[in-house]
């Protein structure tokens, strides 16, 4: 899988995605208006950012970031994000092969566990 495959998959299942450069100078893929469907945050909408890592083969970075911050900063392995001051860094590592489907499930699982 490549970064482009992930973008294509997200767009194919209906998400609007765009590339942004964070305040830290890193490149991020941002999923706009992601609607959380499970867990205590269900019903909320946020932007989800995934840092673009240039690894070969594709490696999902060890975190996603949300805007706005959804839970108190510092709780549940979250912290301030390099994307920008409105963003929250969620430290979560994907442990299975990084297919587009697995990444979508990973994001849903992160919110589902809150």
């Amino acid at each position: 899988m490549t970064y482009e495959d992930l973008v294509r998959h997200l767009e194919a299942i209906g998400y609007t995605v765009e590339q942004v450069t964070g305040q830290d100078g890193q490149s991020y893929l941002v999923i706009r208006s992601y609607r959380i469907t499970v867990g205590s945050l269900a019903g909320q909408t946020c932007d989800v950012a995934i840092q673009r890592m240039p690894a070969v083969p594709f490696v999902l970075p060890p975190a996603i970031q949300t805007r706005p911050a959804l839970i108190p900063m510092g709780s549940r392995n979250t912290q301030a994000s390099g994307v920008g001051s409105e963003w929250q860094y969620w430290s979560r590592v994907l442990r299975v092969p990084p297919t587009p489907e697995a990444i979508v499930t990973h994001i849903a699982t992160i919110f589902g566990e809150v």
């Binding site: 240039p54 070969v56 490696v59 060890p62 430290s91 442990r95």
Partner: protein
């Protein structure tokens, strides 16, 4: 060939061809006609650029269709212009074109006048002009041996031939055909009597000419280096960024107390030691004092036929795991795990040894390398104690254990010995030496377990890189 290589600082460029055993089998089906009949086919290849070697990695066979060939007297055959046009239409800026045909004799094959005309005059200019990569010509012999050359642009619009030094078919076994003049079999000397008595001169000749890279010249890597030098191997590359410290003296072959005072690079210790103990008439050593995760380090491993992964960090092992598939360079890997309780008592010690690459499970699918650790190392988090402290306890314990220095010399001796045995099995096909799969040794009760069914998962991201010659430098650039 200068424009095909990343830099010109090294020796004269060498040329090689590699393909998977699966692709070799498809070509054999097409080309091995028997009964005095030659045949031909085309393939597409991708460039794998090392420091001193360009490897053409065959990627895809383009088999002939109706009207693509003309059968000639005396069992020979020619291609038609429509076949060449079709092949070029399938090539792109990432692929070169390879023309393959069969001969009716065994071993490395020379070229007939007709062969030269077909490749140099009929195709070299057209394929180079379209793909900007040289035409690769290959000949398959009746015993399955391959010979190869590429056609490089020369002055006056002419093309000159550069013979390959070897052709590598990579599957569970690494089957190599060597150019008899560029890489003749090294002389077997009285120093090799015991070695040759076990696997014979022919297999020794294959081993001795195999270019082997050792990444990490610490406890395991330094012993592997000594073993290969003593066994008569003639072409070794060493890659390590580290220098000898006092704590290395109890486990590094060739290291001396004075090395700790001047901080001798580990690759220099290995070079000095192997120079002193090697048994070949002549040995070519290429030490690189720097990281694998650099252009210089990566270029050196891409020059090799087989690699030893003797590093602990996840990021370099991820890189080696990737290039084993993408660049068809098998990697022999291993590691130890000793668990000690809070009182300092040993609970258990285990070590594992495996070879990764085509037709074998990768380090991640074997469970020898974790995606979590790779991700954290590539993201620069593995050296951040605050970050590690915030991880889930199970993952934190796993990462801490992985970073512990457990390379006690006898453990390293055993790992190095089995890694060398696996390499011998890989190169010679001698399973009675190398075993039949990944090995896990348990010190207690003293048992070696073999997982002969190990394979990559259907969605393995490393196996998906097979023969793509993917740009691995993106992991550190």
């Amino acid at each position: 060939m200068a424009d095909l290589l990343p830099n010109d600082e090294g020796p004269m460029p060498r040329f090689s061809v590699a393909m998977t055993r699966e692709l070799d089998a498809a070509l054999a089906k097409q080309l091995d006609r028997g009964a005095g009949q030659e045949d031909l086919a085309f393939a597409l290849w991708r460039p794998s650029r090392g420091r001193s070697r360009l490897t053409a990695i065959l990627d895809r066979v383009v088999l002939p269709e109706a009207g693509d060939r003309v059968w000639l007297p005396n069992g020979t055959v020619a291609f038609t212009p429509q076949y060449v046009v079709r092949v070029l239409s399938l090539a792109d800026r990432e692929h070169g074109v390879a023309f393959l045909h069969s001969h009716l004799g065994p071993g490395w094959q020379g070229m007939s006048r007709d062969d030269v005309v077909a490749e140099r005059k009929r195709m070299a200019s057209a394929t180079h002009g379209y793909t900007r990569l040289p035409l690769v010509g290959m000949t398959r012999a009746t015993d399955g041996a391959w010979s190869a050359r590429c056609w490089l642009p020369d002055q006056g619009g002419r093309y000159r031939r550069q013979d390959a030094e070897s052709v590598r078919v990579v599957g569970r076994r690494l089957r190599q055909t060597f150019h008899p003049k560029l890489l003749p079999p090294p002389r077997v000397t009285a120093a090799h009597v015991a070695t040759v008595s076990v696997w014979g001169q022919a297999k020794q000749a294959e081993l001795a000419r195999t270019r082997v890279g050792i990444v990490g010249l610490g406890s395991v890597g330094s012993i592997v280096a000594e073993a290969l030098g003593r066994m008569g191997l003639t072409r070794l590359a060493f890659i390590d960024h580290d220098r000898i410290e006092q704590r290395n003296l109890d486990r590094t072959a060739g290291a001396l107390p004075q090395d700790t005072r001047v901080g001798t690079p580990k690759v220099e210790v290995a070079r000095r030691h192997v120079e002193a103990v090697h048994t070949a008439d002549r040995i070519e050593l290429d030490p690189f004092h720097g990281s694998l995760l650099s252009d210089g380090g990566l270029a050196r491993v891409l020059d090799c036929d087989v690699l030893f992964s003797c590093v602990d960090r996840p990021a370099p092992r991820h890189v080696l795991n990737a290039l084993a598939y993408a660049h068809l360079i098998p990697v022999v890997d291993g590691g130890t795990l000793a668990k000690v309780d809070e009182a300092g008592e040993l609970i258990h010690a285990d070590w594992r040894i495996h070879t990764v690459g085509p037709e074998r499970a990768c380090m991640v699918c074997l469970g020898a390398l974790g995606r979590e650790a790779i991700t954290l190392d590539l993201a620069g988090k593995l050296d951040d104690p605050l970050y590690i402290q915030g991880l889930a306890p199970a993952l934190r314990e796993q990462l801490v254990r992985q970073s512990a220095r457990q390379n006690v010399f006898p453990f390293s001796l055993s790992v190095a010995a089995h890694e060398v045995l696996q390499m011998v099995g890989l190169v010679t096909g001698e399973e009675r030496v190398g075993g039949i799969g990944p090995q896990m040794y348990h010190c207690y009760p003293g048992e070696m377990c073999v997982d002969q069914d190990a394979a990559c998962s259907d969605v393995c991201e490393y196996a998906a890189l097979m023969a793509t010659a993917a740009d691995i430098s993106r992991n550190f650039s």
